[in-house]
Symmetry: C2
Subunit: 211 residues, 2 copies
């Protein structure tokens, strides 16, 4: 993952990990949890957990720990998950299809509202009940639907043009699986994922141990 503000990003990622643990504990019928329990579930220190959660106000109750429902509500609000988040997919290949069906996205309230692909055999058809459009239609569709986040899995050759059209359509959140990089206007945020790069990182660390 690459980003321009790594410290804040890591805090937010930990909050998202805490949220997942809390939802699991709630499902198990629990009502309160300590920072130590949250820490142990995720391999962090309890001091780290308390520090992360204190930044956003005091959610804890002395001696009892955190009220799980309150903490879930607080974290959802902080992460902007207390409302529906509309997502569009650019590139309906195998990875795109896998992301459309990702259960974790559905669980967290992300809702796919549009799919874009240049393949004429796919345009006009539905996938998971969502119509596939040609990217030329993006300006009209973006002004009709309020799209919060674009997930981009198009081939690298088309990626830069796609990213630019997404910015022009004022979709401010971008989850980019391509190698293309662009400058973003103020108020936009792009998260890049480089899957081959992640495998290279693993390759590096396991080859170190062979030396």
């Amino acid at each position: 993952m690459e980003n321009s503000n790594p410290i804040a990003v890591f805090t937010i990622k930990r909050l998202s990990i805490y949220l997942r643990s809390l939802l699991q504990l709630k499902n198990e019928g629990k009502h309160y949890v300590s920072s130590i329990e949250i820490a142990e579930l995720n391999g962090f220190t309890s001091a780290q957990v308390r520090k992360d959660l204190s930044v956003f106000g005091n959610f804890g109750v002395k001696g009892k720990g955190y009220n799980i429902d309150n903490l879930i509500t607080g974290l959802n609000r902080i992460l902007g998950l207390n409302k529906k988040i509309s997502v569009s997919l650019f590139g309906l290949g195998r990875l795109g299809e896998a992301l459309l069906e990702n259960k974790g996205f559905q669980r967290q309230g992300f809702e796919f509202v549009a799919i874009f692909d240049i393949d004429r055999t796919k345009i006009g058809r539905k996938f998971n009940n969502i119509v596939v459009h040609h990217p030329d239609e993006l300006p009209q569709i973006a002004s009709k639907l309020k799209i919060d986040i674009a997930i981009v899995t198009v081939p690298n050759e088309n990626a830069k043009k796609t990213l630019q059209s997404i910015v022009e359509a004022r979709i401010r959140g971008i989850f980019n699986f391509t190698d293309a990089r662009i400058q973003l206007p103020e108020g936009f945020y792009m998260q890049n994922v480089n899957l081959a790069g992640e495998l290279e990182t693993i390759s590096y660390f396991i080859s170190q141990k062979n030396k």
Copy 2:
């Protein structure tokens, strides 16, 4: 992305990004590149690029910049990519299929050698010319094929058991797309990807700008 050694991990991820740029420049017929060019292609500072590359010895030629072929060879060696890396997939769902066909993996010399899935209708069949096995066969197969990295896309319910069996089979690199976490023995390395968490991070940053 979560990991236990973020500083080193970020250096390695930048090296992998430089490598991708260098392969692109080589394809364009270039022979030398400056730290400034590498920096501008990727949105880093040239000081950062020089620092990252100097850690691994002096690849630069004064006035000409870096010889691209030498740098590619050096980076491939550092990242452990100067030999074939054998990869196995655990969980042949849509995400697994997408990863099996990932062109970036193929380009970098990663080679899938085995697939594991508990679905009896898939076992014994081939996907991309690779036979699907039941996970019970892992110990025998792992001792026959030398598997370097396991990519894990099984459902969360089966994930912990799968991760434990991978460690028992002495596969030391793990690329984990599930919510499960386990303690690893010394010499093992696991990279976790939480796709819903990445979307939550984007959601957080774009909702900040609305406040």
